[in-house]
Amino acid sequence: MSVDDARERFDDLVTWATGTLRGDEVLLASLRGENSDFVRFNHGAVRQAGSVQQQSLAIDLISGRNHAEGSVTLTGHPATDQVRVAVLLDDLRAQRAVLPEDPYLLFATDGSDSERSVLGELPAAADAVDAVSTGATGNDFVGIYAAGSTFEAFGSSMGQRNWFDATTFNLDWSLHLRGDKATKNAYAGTSWDEQAFRSKIDWSVRELVALGRPPKNLPPGGYRSYLAPAAMQEIMGMLSWGGFGLRAHETRQTPLLRMVTEGASFAPAVSIVEDIAGGVAPDFQRAGFQRPNTVQLITNGAFDSHLVSPRSAQEYGVATNGAEDYEYPLALAMSPGSLPAAGLLDALDTGLYIGNLWYLNFSDRTACRTTGMTRFGTFWVEGGEIVAPIEVLRFDDSAFNLLGDRLEGLTETAETILDSSTYEHRSMESLRLPGALVSEMTFTL
């Protein structure tokens, strides 16, 4: 089903469902769907290839302060979908009748309509396989090509309608030399440029040459380090896990607890914003609230504003800023600094160039102490020259150190990273991050 057809049928379905409501019932409906191609590669050959077309409708049925939520997959066939929604509404009505009032219920009653389309021109799926297969020739290429249209919508019985769709591709790959020695890269966007893809493959091949040098086995200890944007993505992922949400702060489970209780801060160079306007996520959420263009999370090293879901807003008596219930940033952006890319290795001088980090978790959450592994494209540098790849190392350090007094600088350009995650559906999250030079990072294993 085309995106335009999906939009029309969603509108019709919400209008139809609104007509079935009883008394003071209010209906909130959220649609999520995709028409996606997925091609998985290993050893430069295709491991699995296929297409997924799916639509799921989530409904919150409200009467007064009583409500119940449910979701159902849609077929796209109006009569069948109406039956499914009718069954769901009956179930929710029965549940709602026996539930106590929800003191934290909050939904948009005067929201405005919106629409946004991120248009793309993608190659035919088979052509994309040809292009990737050709580009992978001669290399141990592993990865995934995910492409197609995704769409999200909100509609309420009060007439509000919001629509978002995007047609994008995301090729996420690694080239492997031997064992765990590999280089990682990605090519994502809205229109395929063969030359741009070729140049990224060429970059991967060049890095592979450097990986061919005998690896250096470093003992645990503290090392001067440069964290490339892809490595910073992992650090930011951990900070985002409760770092910015109001509920995590109020319940003292945030990894930034010391900012709350002790006035701790990052270095003044660190400013972090939820940049919905600059990302590719929808600017509306499941209770019908609009997301502001930006929410300033960290300003000059100090905590600034929370991400606040409607539920938290009601619980803690503040205004919502359109966060979903999990209060996780969808378009996190970190301000760049002044380190020129050209002189990066000279600035590092001797230490670790960390291309990627992997499998991070908190070793002491309330101290924001995090552990994780080096992975893909990580090198030992001496005198501003890459000397050797390293055997993987485990770090265990606090972001209050890495982004605090040990932060020597951020690169002058920030890299846009489109999230390649495909759990349940293709992600519309993104990040814009600089690289970071730190005077010391602690490695333990």
Binding site: G50, S51, G76, S363, S421
Partner: protein, 478 residues
């Protein structure tokens, strides 16, 4: 049910291309229910109904799939066409070019002793309200919650060679959490961090003592505030079953997945330190280590009769007396690797293709009592309930953390410590297994992520307490 949904099985069978080398339709209906109470407030129940079909076509050395939630004739036909197109597009450039898959006939259903249908919604919520309230043991409890997540999954696999496998799996994951705080010190205790799930009905709630757990969880969260930091040093480590779940999962389960060994996951979940030549000879652990892939354990999270390729499942030793026996690889991976495997080709739902996954992966019981294991420790720590997990992409260098530690001195527990962590290397850690208790406990996890496109799947683990020597142990920030 509408006309479109009637005779779905006949319609699916009729759409399978007869001329394909192999073709299948896998129809999945998953109904989920999530009930939760937080800080005395009943949160809105969330029910989900997820339904769709994946067609898979193997033809002339190519393989493709088409998955859709559109169950109209036109929607299904379009999905078959997309699967066929992909088979054509990948012919001659696939990792595998001939199907080893079978046309199996069979069925399986979770045994349920006491159905949730026998208890109305109000009473189910009342259980959670009571549990939530019981955790509120102290003013320093700043957040608490009780929840119950249920899944009812019906799968029908039909093949163009007459295969038909119908399965119905019902899983329950109860959960509790209590968070206590003073200043910059926050401590959380949970009900096994969702590990105490299982297959069945209401009986799953009782199996691990859900009714009695809340007060203990609240009290332990508060007690941890005043507990000393876990000491740093090399010492004996006794892991409770709800930490063994994680230890088994990360440092035995993932390394033994055959698709990782074959390189499929190198761009995402990672590779493995295990290589094909190790099977049959490699000393993975001490002779006390016995590990089974066992989808036959009644009530365990990932019990089933057949995997999603239709391969019959059976109990199989992966590690016996410490020696590595075979990997976890489904029929396709076995053909690629030339190795025996198990029936573990599983998909998270209708919209993802099957890949090699864990199912029930268990450490078999030993003969010692837990008290005997404790008595054998001169200086060490007992750790309970996973809270942090991190391991390298070869599944070797790991670091795990737990909610609560209990110091052991001269064979006796002396007190609790907070922020207990330990680190090690898989290939040596299991060889330091010095004791296996007799308290075999079935558990699991609802969140195992892997695959491109990504898939989250529910897996089972069962284990007794296990004791390890010479482990690097440490605590949190002072």
């Amino acid at each position: 049910m509408t006309d479109l949904e009637t005779r779905l099985e006949d319609r699916l069978r009729g759409m399978l291309p007869a001329d394909a080398d192999y073709a299948s339709a896998r129809h999945v209906v998953e109904r989920g229910t999530n009930l939760s109470v937080r800080n005395g407030v009943v949160e809105p129940p969330a029910a989900s109904h997820d339904e769709g079909v994946m067609f898979t076509v193997w033809r002339d050395g190519g393989i493709g799939y088409g998955a859709t939630s559109d169950l109209t004739d036109a929607g299904l036909a379009a999905a078959v066409e997309r699967a066929s197109d992909w088979a054509q597009a990948t012919a001659g450039r696939s990792v595998v070019d001939q199907t080893p898959l079978l046309h199996t006939v069979g069925d399986y259903e979770t045994p349920v002793a006491e159905s949730f249908d026998s208890m109305d919604l109000v009473d189910q919520i009342a259980i959670l309200v009571r549990a939530d309230a019981a955790m509120n043991v102290d003013d320093r409890i700043v957040d608490r919650g009780a929840a119950m997540l249920r899944y009812d999954v019906e799968t029908l696999l039909i093949t163009n060679g007459g295969g038909r496998v119908a399965q119905r799996i019902r899983q329950v994951f109860p959960d509790l959490h209590a968070t206590a705080n003073v200043g910059s010190n926050t401590q959380t205790r949970t009900y096994g961090r969702a590990a105490f799930g299982g297959q069945g009905g209401l009986e799953v709630m009782a199996e691990h003592g859900f009714a009695d757990a809340p007060v203990r969880i609240g009290e332990e969260a508060v007690a941890l505030l005043d507990a000393p930091n876990c000491p740093t040093g090399v010492m004996d480590l006794l892991l409770a079953p709800d930490q063994m779940v994680l230890q088994i999962h990360e440092s035995i389960g993932h390394p033994l997945e055959l698709d990782r060994i074959l390189g499929d996951e190198r761009n995402y979940a990672g590779t493995s330190f295990v290589t094909p030549d190790m099977f049959g000879t490699y000393q993975y652990g001490s002779e006390l280590l016995n590990v089974t892939f066992d989808p036959t354990v009644a009530g365990e999270v990932a019990s089933y009769g057949y995997d999603d390729d239709g391969t019959p499942a059976q109990r199989t030793y992966l590690i016996k007396s410490g020696i590595l026996q075979r990997p976890m690889g489904g029929t396709i991976s076995q053909a690629r690797a030339g190795l025996n495997g198990v029936a573990n080709s599983r998909a998270s739902s209708w919209n993802r293709p099957p890949i090699d996954r864990m199912a029930n992966l268990n450490v078999e019981a030993g003969e010692a009592t837990v008290d005997e294991l404790i008595a054998g420790i001169e200086h060490g720590v007992l750790m309970e309930t996973n809270v942090s997990w991190s391991i390298d992409d070869s599944r070797n260098k790991f670091q795990f953390g737990c909610e609560l530690g209990r110091m052991i001195e001269n064979g006796e527990i002396t007190g609790i410590v907070r922020n207990p962590n330990y680190r090690g290397i898989s290939s040596t850690f299991w060889r330091n297994l010095t004791g296996v208790a007799d308290d075999f406990t079935t558990m699991g996890t609802p969140n195992c992520g892997k695959g491109e496109p990504n898939q989250v799947i529910r897996v089972g683990h069962a284990s007794p307490h296990c004791r390890f020597s010479a482990v690097q142990v440490f605590g949190g920030e002072a």
